[in-house]
Amino acid sequence: MADTMELRDIEVWDGNMAASHALRQVQVDVVAAYPITPSTPIVENYAGFAANAYVDGEFVMTESEHGAMSCCIGASAAGGRVATATSSQGFALMVETLYSASGMRLPIILNVVNRAIGAPLNVNGDHSDMYMGRDSGWIQLDAYNPQHAYDLNFIAFKVAEDHDVRLPAMVHQDGFMTSHTAQGVHTMTDEQGFNFVGEFKPMNDMLDLDHPVTHGVQTEEDWHFEHKARQQHALMTAVIPKIEAAFDAFEALTGRRYNLVETHQMDDAEMAVICMGTSVETAMEVVNELRANGIKAGVVGIRVFRPWPMEQLAAVLKDVKAIGTLDRSSPHGTMGMLFNEISGSLFNTDTKAVLTNYIYGLGGRDLTKAHLVGIFNDLKANMDAGKPTTPLQQYIGLRGPKLSFF
């Protein structure tokens, strides 16, 4: 038995430490990992727990992120709780295996500490890696601060390992802004944390020697489509209800409430920004200030990025007249992901909202309150005009001549 760790009710943890403790508390059976900034401390902290008898599972330091996820897949198929962490280039190196994990329906938990992807090389936080994962068939949950990074790990294990789901899940947090920023984090005891997720229940496990299984088959045109459809069906129909149930159970246990789509001052909002990660909290502060001046602004944060909460977003944005979508990843040849996804979510509704797109914060560039005030000024003008008064895509916080498209 691993030793129990006595935690204070509130610990001062950064996002990485919060995630490491969550992995320790759910008693992961195999962690196979490889270090990369800014997720390295998750791996280091966990190694420290293992070195001091707080972990009795296996901790495998692989030769690469691809090797780490490959080991995770083998371990998960063998039948047990599995997790790892990565960022950026490491995430990119893993991509091939991400599709294997989801296609084989293996409930691995991957903590992604979001970071830019080179070239040029950059160690700071943006959402390029998170966006790269969005077609890989994983559940993707987004934390805005260290508390979320802690809490969402428990949610992720509970949902992913559910036999009606059996899909891998990523818990995202912003590199440095969350991962290296220490804040007060409300903790659960080791027992509470473990019990919330519960014992791992194996399914189709290779180590059940009486029931040999074959994992990772070949399917060609006569079968592949059906298998991919089945995977999509699980992601689209089973996951959302399970996440909502887990959010409810988590609130009952801790008093902390999570939602598929997080909203701030949206009840009567005329205009809103939609964003992810730490930017949600910055936007909330700005909205509070705007509200003090009588401006009906609101914020929408994506909590569950995959599966995409389309109906919930359409409902939240129903009466909004101007929407700014804020993407922290270079869209390379099109509109930002949030612009496209929100467009798709609203297109068949009655909304007449004016929708625009902002590219910001690449490679860790700050998103300031002044930027957000500027965005809300644009939205106000769009709302008043009933049509875009700015180009559809604008770069903010960028040096040089103003850059915009469409």
């Binding site: 084989m104 189709n204 040999p212 074959t214 990772g216 459809a229 089945r230």
Partner: protein
């Protein structure tokens, strides 16, 4: 196996070899195993063959060379004896015939349509050689 719709199979394209539980697989012979529909054991590659091997037990010395070198688990050996060929899984490669050390060979290739009794009746006689093929004693 029937081509099921998208909701008609196990998740993750996982396949099970056996129906129900199986213990001591390594010592359970095929006839005592409950293969599932998804074991290739239940399928046939007989139509791959142009020629088939036929077995004449009169000359066989049960050396088991054919058993060890058959790539397709198609030499049926029971109780240390060669007892026949599994024609569902034999691909007609001819390795068993090549490695058979007896004179005449106890296995020979024939056209797929060849009648077994006819083949046995026409089986070649012992070939005169300077020295008989040496058989390794193991």
């Amino acid at each position: 196996m029937e081509k099921a719709g998208w909701d008609g199979f196990e998740i993750g394209a996982m396949l099970r070899t056996f129906d129900g539980a199986i213990q001591n697989i390594a010592t359970t012979l095929p006839e005592d195993r409950a293969y599932s529909q998804s074991s290739s054991f239940t399928a046939s590659v007989a139509d791959w063959r142009i020629e088939k091997p036929l077995f004449n037990k009169d000359y066989c010395i049960d050396c088991q060379f054919c058993w060890i070198y058959c790539p397709d688990m198609s030499i049926i050996a029971r109780d240390k004896k060669m007892v026949g060929i599994d024609f569902d899984h034999c691909k007609g490669c001819g390795i068993c015939v090549e490695v058979c050390p007896t004179n005449p060979k106890s296995l020979l290739m024939f056209p797929e349509q060849k009648d077994e009794d006819m083949a046995l009746a026409e089986w070649p006689k012992k070939e005169k050689k300077e020295k008989d093929t040496e058989v390794e004693e193991d």
